[in-house]
Amino acid sequence: MTRDYANPEEFGLADLLCCAASREVQDNEIVFAGTGLPMVAIMLAQKTHAPNLKLIFEAGTLDGRPPEIPTSVGDARCEMGASRASGLYDAFSIAQRGYVDLGFLGGAEVDEYGNVNTTCIGDYLDPELRLTGSGGNPDINSFARRTVFIMVHEKRRFTPNVSYITSPGWRVKKWPGGEFVHRKELYGAAFRGGPSAVISTAGVFRFDAETGRIYLDTCHPGKSPEEIREMCHFDLDISRVSGETLPPTREELHLIHEVLDPEQIFIPKVKKG
């Protein structure tokens, strides 16, 4: 199948991230959506290669097919077209029961084992900045088979030590002592998987199946592996780079801007000049 890829001047970084995120979804999967760009990405997958995916909104909409993009997961736009609209008890019970294949999440900081922080910058007991807190980030990350993080790429955010582990990666702390162990050891029968990718504004990163350590998979157009390694405080493995992140297709761009997010709530249009 030949695909009609767009030229670099036809799309913006948000388009690229949205399409990269969309391509993480496989057909027939049950996907947990957070507010923001992931909602557009999942609905894009629903309209392209994954027409049978099932969408769950954390606030309580199950198997949703919203006719208009919701602004947040509690939005009145979530309900129409869904199998059920109920509440958080259903959403989280279904997730803990093991139905969820994939979740999209965000974060302020990530370490090389996929531990993510959304709670505070600096010492938790005396923080430089208190952030939003966990929300459902650790829950979706604990329950889903795969999770994909979408993040702004700044060097300070890709750090060997996050200020606070809000959401569990592949090596996590075993309490009460706090020593690091592999996630499998801690989750027992509830182990289903963990972070599978980080899509940053620089590239797409994945995690080694054995060690759970992060490596660079693809570079966004215009970025070299060495450049991206320089953008991390930890020693990024760039030995497994598979190429460049695929650009959006013209069909995807049409769907994003004319069908899914014409109001430019999450994804701005590239100004043609």
Binding site: G36, G60, V73, E79, L129, G133, P138, D139
Partner: protein
């Protein structure tokens, strides 16, 4: 009998005493009981302990106004209209508030436990995170864990004793004094009908000792009982009711009105500092009652927020850039 649960906005706020523990209906920026939140601020309530499945603008207003000593939850912000809770963040920095962090699912399961009369819930979420770090037990560090108002422990780690499924975490029931709900319809006897996602409202109402329901409209019980399968909360779980149109503004209500994103953006932009918050409160809260607040917002603004009755959301609001 029929009017026995009816109270006024002022009375609703008076039921919530200094030092009460409190929870709300809704989800982030939807269906928050704002008219009562504003009235609590006007009445100068102090020492509140908020226990919320998730926070939102209501948290930010109460925290900014200095009404809250303890916030126990997982998230605060304004979704698209404000990245994080700037008032909570400021008070955390100045150590003027105690924050106890749980995960979202943990908070939900804590309410579900309280709602079913169980002392705790069991879950497998958030294992290995700093949410479970014993050094970060804020209420314990403050010496508040008396086993009465506050659970003796933040968590208990255990192993599945029945099926050998491995590590589990026990989280204490979320016992709260008062739940304040904001819904579309309540009957004269207290039956609640929520339209759209009901979020964690059934658990919140059942977990609390006292449940106050503020509705867009009080309707005849008989009307709700014609189709009882559509109702969300049982009459006798509700202690007090009141009618208050647009009571959730600036948050939204399914089928009635949208989130006032411009108002939340403005609040977020202007209340990074305490002076900013005080000025905002002076403009929008103090010296107003609910009707003069609506008057200040004005008809054009409210008409624009009003939901299309076929779609259940507004087609007039500008959401994007």
């Amino acid at each position: 009998m029929s009017n026995s649960k009816r109270i006024t906005l002022q009375q609703a706020a008076e039921i919530i005493k200094d030092g009460s523990s409190l929870t709300f209906s809704g989800f982030t920026i939807w269906r928050r009981p704002f008219a009562i939140v504003y009235e609590l601020i006007r009445q100068g309530r102090k020492g509140l302990h908020l226990i919320e499945v998730n926070g939102g603008p209501q948290t930010e207003f109460l925290v900014g106004a200095g009404c809250v000593d303890i916030w126990e939850s997982c998230w605060v912000g304004h979704e698209l209209y404000g990245k994080y809770g700037a008032n909570l963040s400021r008070k955390v920095g100045k150590k003027e508030i105690l924050v106890e962090d749980y995960s979202h699912a943990e908070m939900l399961f804590r309410f579900a436990a309280a709602a079913s009369g169980a002392p705790y819930a069991v879950t497998q979420t958030s294992l290995g995170t700093d949410i479970h770090n014993p050094a970060y037990d804020t209420l314990g560090r403050a010496g508040l864990r008396d086993g009465k108002r506050f659970p003796k422990q933040k968590y208990v780690f255990t192993d599945d004793p029945f099926f050998g499924a491995g590590p589990q975490v026990l989280v204490p029931a979320a016992k709260v004094d008062v739940a304040v709900m904001c819904v579309q319809q309540v009957g004269e006897e207290g039956t609640v009908r929520v339209a759209g996602q009901y979020y964690s409202d059934p658990e919140a109402a059942r977990a609390a000792d006292i449940t106050i329901v503020m509705a867009e409209e009080v309707v005849p019980e008989e009307y709700l009982r014609r189709e009882s399968d559509r109702n969300t909360i049982t009459s006798f779980e509700v202690d007090y009711i009141l009618e208050c149109p647009f009571g959730a503004h600036p948050t939204g209500m399914f089928g009635r009105y949208d989130v006032d994103g411009a108002f939340l953006k403005d609040f977020y932009a202007k209340t990074r500092t305490q002076e900013g918050f005080d000025a905002f409160a002076k403009e929008w809260i103090f010296g107003h009652d609910h009707m003069s607040y609506l008057d200040k917002l004005g008809w054009p603004r409210m008409m624009n927020l009003r939901a299309n009755t076929a779609l259940n959301y507004s087609t007039g609001v500008k959401r994007g850039q």
